[in-house]
């Protein structure tokens, strides 16, 4: 099977690029002598997880309980569910753990911590620490930190943070600063708890940019990151990889030709690409994606998807170039702005390795 045989729109995953991205992150993390707990929120695939875990300690991060159940079912038991737990979801986690999984949860809420501490089926828990993103977590110097630890009791195994504001950085220097604040904050929280006599075995941090650019990892036991596996146009612009580091693209067909408007219509619209327009805040606005040829190289003068309707993507063709000689049905690929969001509309990856031959089909686990 060749790319040209596939129904469109669909996801193409280049295994060679994926493996290079995995190796880059493995080296970046190994520099510091800490573990990598790959975040499966991007790939949501057991086949990708197996590659990402090569040489690592076998633990993953997940963003939904659907992922947790799926990966546990495939034998990956050591998981961190890195979204604030609720009473209802704690019961689901306890059930999965009773069936053989070992999913740890996170909280920054005292009532929730008490509930976890009293759970009949023990569930490991980490306290979420805010090191600058201001989305979730208590600050490293928060007076609530010891109370959370007390409430969690023997369920407490560690602290974690996510410097998601690293996505706002625009240079390796800025990323190193944010990465250092992430490290300092989470290790300070760990130190406070250790000094108070709590058993803290996991000190976890990470985002793809800080994981790649951090100068030090003292006091940290593990790094979490996910989007590095596939990369995207946004990550490219904050220095996580080059254009040749984008492993996942959307295969699409030309469905309309409108030379008078210098427009080309593709069957990759807002559903197939997502409506994520994160590059609008980056140095280069790639619209809803960069148009590539079937080999994955920029084409049509480096043009982008300018508008995304539900099933139609509108390509703006460069007026200084001849109108593209692409018939209806011609296939192109599109590099996404935000690969996690784009992948989520699709149920599988068509896997290639540098050519147009489809080697394998890898399923994804979507939903919640």
């Amino acid at each position: 099977m060749r790319l040209s045989d596939l129904p469109t729109p669909c996801l193409v995953l280049d295994r060679g690029i994926l493996q290079r991205n995995l190796a880059t992150m493995a080296v970046a993390v190994a520099r510091h002598g800490v573990g990598l707990r790959p975040h499966m929120k991007t790939a949501k695939s057991i086949d990708v997880a197996r590659l990402a875990l090569a040489g690592q300690h076998g633990a993953i991060t997940v963003s939904t309980l659907a992922e947790a159940e799926y990966f546990a079912g495939h034998g990956i038991t050591d998981q961190l569910y890195a979204v604030g737990i609720t009473p209802q979801k704690l019961a689901q986690v306890a059930k999965l753990n009773a069936a053989g999984a070992d999913i740890a949860v996170i909280t920054d809420d005292l009532d929730m911590a008490r509930l976890i501490g009293k759970s009949l089926i023990p569930v490991r828990a980490l306290i979420e620490v805010d090191t600058g993103e201001h989305r979730g977590g208590v600050t490293p110097d928060s007076p609530t930190l010891p109370d959370l630890a007390e409430a969690l009791g023997r369920s407490l195994v560690g602290v974690m943070t996510h410097a998601g504001h690293s996505y706002g950085a625009r240079s390796p220097e800025q990323l190193a600063v944010i990465g250092e604040a992430e490290r300092l904050g989470v290790s300070q929280a760990a130190t406070r708890l250790l000094e108070a006599g709590h058993a803290i075995s996991i000190v976890s941090l990470g985002s793809t940019p800080t994981a790649l650019h951090a100068a030090r990892m003292d006091g940290v036991t593990e790094v979490r990151a996910g989007v590095y596996m596939f990369g995207d146009l946004f990550q490219m612009q904050i220095g996580s990889h080059g254009l040749d580091g984008i492993a996942m693209t959307v295969l699409t067909s030309v469905i309309g030709r409108h030379p008078a408007q210098r427009a080309l219509l593709l069957d990759a619209g807002g559903l197939a690409l997502s409506k994520d327009h994160s590059t609008a805040a980056a140095p280069v606005d790639y619209g809803f994606g960069l148009v590539l040829d079937l080999n994955g190289a920029p084409t049509l003068g480096g043009t982008v998807i300018r508008q995304a309707y539900q099933e139609h993507g509108v390509v703006e063709c460069d007026a200084s170039l001849p109108y593209p000689d692409l018939p209806i049905g011609a296939k192109l690929r599109v590099a996404p702005n935000h690969t996690c969001m784009t992948a989520a509309a699709h149920d599988r990856y068509y896997v290639v390795d540098g050519t147009d031959e489809v080697l394998e089909i890898w399923p994804r686990v979507n939903g919640w």
Copy 2:
């Protein structure tokens, strides 16, 4: 089962509101004595289709071949696949038709029209006409129109248009003007073809706003619309319905409390709500959705989801009100900006009817 028992995030569909929306559209279209061909791109559900087809002529519109196959499998054979056809997809349609479906396709491309005209398995086709949206189609006075008709030969059954630019209108008067241009354009194209001796039995137009606000439908045989079934915050602002016309919402749980930042974290983020931010261009910017209580009424002072991470929605709480007394796990609902995009991340609807009792679960067909 009650709403409070459901895992979150998930979709809640209020059947009473849905039926009221269906009745409103049925009446609006029946005024003109034309047929309604409901567009299933929003609901993607056989259960919704059956309600939407009550009193109609039994035909639907679809936006993907996954929908086409699903609805044909449920006995709805008369379908219009309203996205420009490609050679590969024509073969798929021919196969579905050979198995009992009767899916019509659309084109505005001469090479594609020739291919359809020569198809061994006959496939009905409509010529796409551009009546102002400038996305797809030939203009009503295009010199290509007769050539397309000739090329399609006996496959030609009609003309169709979609005044999608009606979404840019902000008053019933503007909508009526766009609706009239949509009607004039498509009926002019039909007249040209009829006068040239072609058999034109379908003259199809529609978008939810023009279908509701059109003053006349002379020369038209059917209206297509889809988003009217569920409604959303964008459609509300262009006059398609009131806030009480939003039938589909996202059920979510509180997963974080951050009084110092006046923020509440929900488990409805960019995946559960979509990253569609269409209300940014409307009179009121609802962020990534309006927060509702479990009964579906605005709550917390009418606040919205201000930021949407992959799995986290951040609610900005009104500083003039007390910080909400909602524990971790408390359930809320969120009205979406763009219901088609929001629904697509979910595989089912939990159906209620004015109360918190879950009456049924209706599956959706996603993907392509």
